[in-house]
């Protein structure tokens, strides 16, 4: 599938974001954002901060990223974050369960803590208004207030990328597709 816009490459990288291309191909998301360099200049570091290490344990955070991408139907993000989840040590069965459960369904083979996190993520990602008090309460039993804020930023940032990648038909990299195939996540 071809992207719907011309992605910026290293040769055409605008001045404000040229450093993002210095170490090699930064990927299609940066290639898309770089078309608006004044946004990419601040968005790319923000994305790194929002989705990178924080106060929430990495496996839980990646569960939220992957699950958000699943319920919003972002093929690119599900592919890419499956690889990240596997690299973090989330087992293939656990990842498969997160990928396969429908919106609002409890993934099979996950523990109660993960099930609560997934239920909260699904609710936040799909809500048209606020999420129900009881869904928040279940998460609040497990996470501090600042961690809930961090998780909300994680969901929101992931949704931004879901929409960007989906609307622009950004393609998964050959490396990602090869890895997914090797791990049994092929098409």
């Amino acid at each position: 599938m071809a992207p719907r816009i011309t992605l910026v490459d290293a040769d055409q990288a605008p001045l404000l974001v040229r450093h993002l291309f210095a170490a090699g191909d930064p990927g299609v998301i940066v290639g898309a954002l770089a078309t608006v360099p004044e946004l990419a200049e601040v968005a790319v570091p923000f994305l790194g901060a929002a989705l990178g290490p924080g106060s929430v344990e990495p496996k839980a955070k990646e569960t939220v990223v992957l699950r958000t991408s699943v319920v919003l139907g972002c093929r690119y993000c599900v592919d890419a974050r499956t690889v990240v989840a596997l690299d973090l040590g989330l087992g293939a069965g656990h990842v498969a369960a997160l990928r396969e459960a429908g919106a609002g369904e409890r993934p099979v083979t996950v523990d109660d803590d993960t099930a609560a996190l997934v239920a909260w993520t699904d609710a936040v990602a799909l809500a048209k208004g606020s999420i129900p008090d009881e869904v928040h309460a279940v998460l609040a039993e497990r996470y501090a207030e600042h961690q809930i804020v961090e998780l909300l930023v994680t969901v929101g940032t992931t949704m931004l990328l879901n929409r960007l990648c989906t609307a622009l038909s950004l393609p998964s990299s050959p490396e990602t597709l090869a890895r997914l195939a090797a791990e049994g996540f092929g098409p």
Partner: protein, 278 residues
């Protein structure tokens, strides 16, 4: 102590004071070395006159000292003289033109501008019609040498710009200088620059390669965004180059101006004139 904004940077010489506007990419000519692949029928990518006037107001407030208007051929826009009346009343202005459109009607429209600090920079590449016209099109030479004295007659200042492929031939350059003097243009108003290997010249494999370090950081506003230099918003094989793009945002002007300043401050000093391109 140095100030932090564009005004202080311009005043202290850390940022060039000229701002450029690409008024249109359309042109009645199709020169072989055109940076923007301008020609009749290309997408106009035009800045409307009101935008140019508004951004000039902002430029003056930000400390910019003069304006350049280029294209394409700016005089394809019938409202350009009216726009220039407002722009040149705020800041000294130079308009780059191919010099082929100055009929009696346009010259009459320019006459009221004689009281403003306005100059028109006309392209003329050789003293021999066949040499000049090979790159710029049939009858270009004749039209230009006809237009220059007539522009001077209406009271508008004229500069001549010569674009060369390769090393200048001293004898040919001497003849060209004799010609522009005879037309009423002094030596200090004659600009000579190399073909830059961008746009149509890049496709044809002509000209000199440039990097940002070769080009003065003259904020350049186009319909596609703000660029590092008027040599930035080039088009090659129909595709806009973005390697010298600064921001897509052009209004408010402080956004690209401040971004340009940050870029300028982040590079080693003294590297802005390596090839003398102005």
């Amino acid at each position: 102590m140095s100030g932090s904004g564009p005004a202080a940077a311009i005043e202290e010489g850390r940022l060039p004071g000229r701002i450029w506007f690409y008024s249109t990419y359309a042109c009645n000519l199709a020169c072989t070395y055109c940076l923007t692949e301008s020609a009749p029928g290309v997408p106009r990518r035009a800045l409307d006159g009101a935008t140019i006037v508004e951004l000039t107001q902002q430029a003056a407030a930000l400390g910019f000292t003069d304006v350049g208007i280029t294209g394409g051929e700016p005089f394809l826009s019938p409202d350009l003289p009216a726009v220039l009346t407002q722009v040149a009343s705020m800041l000294p202005t130079v308009v780059l033109s191919n010099g082929t459109l100055f009929n009696d009607r346009r010259l009459a429209a320019l006459k009221p501008l004689a009281r403003f600090p306005l100059r028109i920079q006309v392209s003329l590449d050789a003293d021999q019609p066949d040499v000049n016209d090979a790159a710029r099109g049939p009858e270009n030479f004749a039209k230009v040498v006809d237009a220059i004295p007539r522009l001077l007659d209406v009271g508008v200042g004229v500069r001549v710009a010569t674009t060369l492929n390769g090393t200048p031939d001293p004898e040919a350059m001497a003849r060209l200088c004799e010609l522009h003097r005879s037309l009423g243009v002094a030596d200090e108003d004659h600009v000579v620059r190399p073909i830059v290997r961008r746009g149509r010249a890049q496709v044809r494999g002509e000209g000199v390669d440039v990097t940002p370090a070769d080009l003065p950081a003259e904020l350049t506003i186009t319909a596609d965004g703000a660029f590092w230099s008027p040599f930035g918003p080039t088009v090659a094989a129909g595709v806009l180059d973005t390697d010298l793009l600064i921001t897509r945002t052009t209004n408010p002007l402080r956004i690209p101006a401040e971004a340009l300043l940050r870029l300028v401050e982040g590079r080693p000093p003294g590297e802005d004139a390596r090839t003398g391109i102005r």
